[in-house]
Symmetry: C2
Subunit: 457 residues, 2 copies
């Protein structure tokens, strides 16, 4: 698709050098971190303000040209692919932190602010923002995909931590949703509708987020288990007991071995949980003791504290590099990442059956999980140049999703639908898909906002 | 409006004795607990199943007849008033608890189950559902109004505690939203869209809710303060410090005096906070000590534990009867209840300015607040037979809402819009109201679901 000359002219007059049609720029903006190939847009705009975004959307709307919002390009289901061409709006330059309000524990930011940037900024004030997907993603993108990460078991997901939004709609008009009150019963929850809508209902141009005080004390621990069930049963009883655990991450034997090699650690090769506890010094100590005693009930004997900050940092660095550690198991391979999430009572079964399927496939794979939420990722290592392997990974993913749905779960705990999971969403949502379609039609009748995502044609 | 004879016949054939047109039944179903007068529907159906609801909605849709969902009728903004006539579906008979799953800390129920019924049922299993509006409301109604209560500072509101819904849409079709996974990024968040939609987008016929383990230890405390600011500053610092307080309720001097008289307690007459702490015995003790020390920083000296269960029960019983205690200040009067919610940094100012306005008005009034959320209620006592007083209360309410909005807050923290706050919602939402309208139009094109609520014509 070529952009209409008049549109291009109008956009160039407004954006000047901030409009690019260079092949490299287009290519870079058409590809995220997933296995999908690039779908470059016809042009890329570098926005600096809400007015820029509103102007661009309004002009594109006039010509029925697709508009795709782009943050850091770290999505995992082809969210930012310009599959019908059009104009990508890069929001990375809108990265101002507009207001931090310690008394209210909230912050207002532009959408291009990344999670690490925000936390750097907050550090001196004793505040932090807890949502931590693997990548240093933009907060606009994290809201758009309803992202989460390792802290969700305690602090929730983006859904729970966005107070309000400014959004540019499909006609270029600008609205505000939510606000700064901690709760409200004022009409339809448009904030939650926009969170997770992946740029298909509007483009987020400002966010007000909840903040949290940095806990007085933080401690971490690791524990190997005799079996996957023992590890998951420990998590279930921990949560049932109301222990306000901040993080609980599962790594299977393959992943532990990979981490040991990659991060030069010496964890016992066993299904393992990594824990983190937040609170007062006394509460943190008590939480850890209670979890250690629960783990012992399920046959674990190697509960190990990370007592110093250095040890703790090393432990979580090892967890955060798990993706690259897994990749290193097969040099040259790419990882196909699954994202099932099930009720926690079904998690051990889901993990074990998945592991059996993966082992049978002959492909190398490793499992990590945000198990407090019932969410896990299989990293399936494939040679991207080998269509049979890619097809096999795809079939394995289908099997994992089918199992998760059969167990009352979801096809995606935190990565979103994008272009990769539209069929799965149709299966999961059933008749509710028609409601999603009606909403999309109502808010974007010409279908210009990130077309080809979330909802099957 | 008279119901079409054919519709009536069809409904009677299906519902038999469970269709009523008796004046008393219609009257009772046209009036909630607010100051609004009754708007009786033309008929009331007593539903026993989702199929009943779907059938009724489908038939009403065929004739363009309004359908209003009714739980316990305890709403506070005229939510259930049949202002355009039509058929009210009473869901109180759909009160089965379908499945409790302790391992997953969730429960699936029919919409007529009330919060007390649910908690009675859960008691033996060491589980509870925390959302506690004043009334023993139905959980379907609580979801529909995005209700909260005294536990929201720790456990969130209905928005945070509904995992999934079954909903009958405006055409009588039935969908499921959400699911049992603790988190999901699977498409638009229809669950959150339905929560708070007050029966205008669909009728909730089943809910899956999050549960919580009953804390090992619970303790409560009260503390009088030298000023409103001192009380609110204590709350702000408590929350900033990450103390996981379960409840923190504010009562002004008038309310404390009213409670003393009504509940025969002897609280010092001062701006007062009631606290509750949940956790392990050690953590509860630590939380209370830390809060006591924060309160002391702000000049409070009377921090008092409710050490026994009996004392604690008595304390919260006093809080929960505050509404009637206030009413007793002026026998024969009705209470006009406001519901502003502001960022907590603005709460002291908002409370003080409100109090000054109320005092100037000459009407008797008392203030209570879920202050951890920035939410408070003024109970303004009016003689319902005195139009001047009613008009004055209405003006006071307008002033409170205007102040809340100017301070970055919302016109309703937990009661909803109903018919009473449509103008305020328009002011608060601005351009976003047109998005709400577009969604309403998309999901209920003939406007049969609870017409005249939330969105101004």
């Amino acid at each position: 698709m070529e952009l209409p000359a008049e549109l291009l002219q109008t956009l160039r007059a407004h954006f000047g050098e901030r409009l690019s049609q260079a092949a490299s720029v287009r290519q870079q903006h058409g590809k995220d971190e997933s296995h999908f190939s690039a779908f470059p847009p016809d042009a890329v705009l570098f926005a600096r303000s809400t007015a820029d975004v509103a102007f661009a959307v309004k002009e594109c709307a006039r010509f029925g040209v697709p508009v795709i919002a782009f943050g850091t390009g770290t999505s995992l289901e082809g969210h930012i692919a310009a599959i019908k061409g059009g104009v990508t709006i890069d929001l990375a330059g809108m990265n101002a932190i507009l207001a931090v309000r310690p008394e209210d524990l909230d912050v207002t930011i532009q959408p291009g602010v990344t999670r690490k940037q925000l936390n750097e900024h907050l550090r001196d004030q004793g505040l932090f923002f807890p949502i931590d997907p693997g990548a240093d993603a933009s907060l606009g993108g994290m809201a758009a995909t309803r992202a989460s990460g390792t802290n969700a078991v305690r602090y929730g997901t983006m859904k729970d931590n966005v107070l309000g939004l400014e959004v540019v709609l499909a006609d270029g008009s600008v609205i505000r949703t939510g606000g700064r009150a901690r709760k409200s019963s004022a009409g339809y929850d448009l904030t939650r509708l926009m969170v997770g809508s992946e740029g298909t209902l509007g483009i987020i141009t400002e966010l007000t987020l909840k903040l949290h005080g940095v806990p007085e004390a933080i401690s971490a621990a690791t524990c190997p288990f005799p079996s996957v069930e023992a590890a998951i049963d420990t998590v279930i009883l921990t949560i049932q007991s109301g222990i306000p655990i901040a993080r609980v991450e599962f790594l299977d034997q393959t992943m532990i071995a990979a981490v040991n090699t990659y991060s030069k650690t010496d964890h016992q090769i066993a299904p393992t949980l990594f824990f983190e506890f937040h609170g007062s010094p006394a509460s943190v100590a008590e939480q850890a003791e209670r979890v250690a005693s629960i783990a012992a009930e399920f046959g674990a004997s190697g509960f190990q504290w990370a007592t110093t900050t250095e040890e703790r940092t090393r432990l979580w660095a090892a967890r955060h590099t798990a993706y690259w550690a897994a990749l290193a198991l097969r040099p040259g391979a790419k990882a196909w990442t699954t994202d099932a999430c099930v009720p926690i009572s079904a998690l051990a079964r889901c993990l074990l059956e998945t592991k059996a399927d993966l082992d049978r496939s002959g492909l190398i794979s490793a499992l990590v999980g945000h198990v407090g939420d019932g969410n896990f990722h299989a990293l399936v290592l494939v040679d991207p140049g080998n269509p049979a392997e890619v097809a096999l990974a795809e079939r394995l993913n289908q099997g994992i999703v089918a199992r998760a749905l059969a167990l009352g779960g979801t096809c995606t705990g935190e990565h979103g639908i994008g272009m990769g999971k539209k069929d799965f969403l149709a299966a999961e949502a059933g008749g509710a898909l028609s409601v999603m379609r009606a909403i999309k039609q109502a808010l974007d009748p010409d279908g210009i906002l990130n077309p080809g995502k979330i909802i099957k044609d």
